[in-house]
Amino acid sequence: MSVLSDKNLRGYPMKPYDMVREGLIVFGVMLTIILVLAAVWGFPGKNYGPLTIKEVATKAPVAFLKRTVSYFSGTSRLQTYGPPYTHNDNHAQHIGPFCPNCWVGVIYPLNAKVDFVMQPLQQIAALDPNVATALNTYQNASAKQQTEWNNAYTSALNKAQVTHGRVVLPAGDYGPVPVLMNGMLTFARTGLLEAALTFNTNPNMAPYETNYTRPLLYLGGPIMNTVAGHFDEKGGEWGMSHIAGPYPGAWWLWPYTFLYQIPAIGNSPNGDLIAFLIFLVMLLIAVLAPMIPGLNRIPYVIPVYKIIWRDWYAKYPSGIPSNASRKRV
């Protein structure tokens, strides 16, 4: 035996054993249990497919247009998100000067107006002369005029009516903005917007591009929050540890997601950072428990060990085989 086990096991009675056999038996049992679980329940929860832009543009065109025009006019929250996308360090989570996100900085610069709207619009303009003209008109207008059109259009969306899939606005001066936004809507409804967003990320990489930051972020904010609300998956509802539907998925994250249920953390703009630091302390306590006075006595105070080794203690009440008092080693 190894020098360690040789030293540790001297004088201890041994019994015959076959480790590989035991391992194979346990493996067989586990495999069977898992096969049964998978066969009976399949993938639990709803396993909804991803939310596509096409679906949103078709079923909730006004929500789609609101989000799109917010990127277009530069008013979305994403455009002042902070690192890693924009330079608004004041929006990065921090505790005093402790701001890991600021230290990493803007490594994936994102200009939502250009990347999400202007680039696809230019591509749409190549296919649709109306959009080309509108784009031209818009770009030649003064900044003040652009802002007025954007604002008028944005507030008109609140009174928009949808008839047969068409979005009808109350009369008003929106300049070329409705043509542009309808161009985006039509394009989105073809199901091509994700592809455009993905491949525009780096056109030189087109056939290999797998960076889905843009299409994943596009529907972020109000749209995805609404959908998540339908599935009880908001952070305040145990967030990540949930899967769609009533089932807990990653229940082992509960000690972490639990922290978000504390209003002071869940509602704080720095909640993630605070929750994580608390979790880190919890984890450290668990890892170092054997060295923490008090905690390392719990196994003696709650003597589960007496049950675990009950056969052994029945034979050797003190715990050592010779039954004699032991010396220090």
């Binding site: 035996m1 086990s5 998978a38 396993n47 994943l216 054997p290």
Partner: protein, 214 residues
């Protein structure tokens, strides 16, 4: 110095074949308290095997073919069983005070595995290519960014796939091997002596009358 010789010597002293493939165990290893480590290992094996199949055929397959859906479900359920097992395992190791006798490194090694599996689980969630993955990448980004982990690009499918099936899986494998090597080299921790009272119970109590106490 002959490196092979040194390694031979190290293996002979710390992991001889007799410990790698033991044919006997101390008599006190006779309890459900030892079952969960094996259960963890067994379920982990199913995680790796089902995951390998998923890796071969890809997301369209595991979402849209019935065999694929079955393997997807198997991967999911093996992870659930794994966590049940590992949490029982560490609970029982805690109640056995199994860190005694220099086994603290085994204990810490165990926690390292546990922490890596959490990251592995998150990367797996993001790989699902379904609504949950999409939503978690939205929600998770706030946390990852806040923690200064944005340099790992969690929205690049290739990055996440590689992290999940190569990097985290490899780390888990590595630390499981060291865990088992520690466990086998040290022999199972002794039952607690005299309720842990009196002398310091270092978990390596030695039977008397066997000669060599110093």
């Amino acid at each position: 110095m002959n490196i092979d010789k040194v390694l031979q010597k190290g293996l002979k002293s710390f992991l001889p074949l007799k410990d790698d493939l033991p044919t006997e165990m101390p008599a006190y290893v006779n309890s459900f308290g030892y079952f969960f480590g094996t259960m963890t290992l067994a379920s982990l094996a199913v995680v790796f095997m089902s995951g390998t199949v998923l890796a071969f055929f890809g997301p369209d397959w595991w979402h849209f073919s019935s065999v694929g859906q079955f393997f997807n479900a198997m991967h999911f359920w093996s992870v659930e069983v794994f966590y049940l097992a590992v949490i029982m395992h560490l609970t029982f190791k805690f109640f056995k005070a199994a860190w005694r006798g220099n086994r603290f490194r085994t204990w810490v090694n165990g926690w390292i595995i546990f922490i890596i599996t959490i990251f592995s689980g998150i990367s797996g969630t993001l790989l699902q290519a379904n609504w949950d993955a999409q939503w978690n990448s939205q929600q998770g980004k706030a946390a990852f960014n806040a923690l200064g982990l944005s340099w790992m690009n969690w929205m690049n499918y290739t990055t996440v796939l590689t992290l999940h099936v190569v990097f985290f899986a490899g780390l888990i494998l590595f630390f499981v091997v060291t865990h088992l090597a520690f466990v086998r080299s040290e022999s199972p921790v002794h039952p607690i002596v005299n309720g842990g009272k009196g002398e310091i119970d270092d978990g390596n109590a030695r039977a008397l009358g066997e000669g060599d106490e110093k």
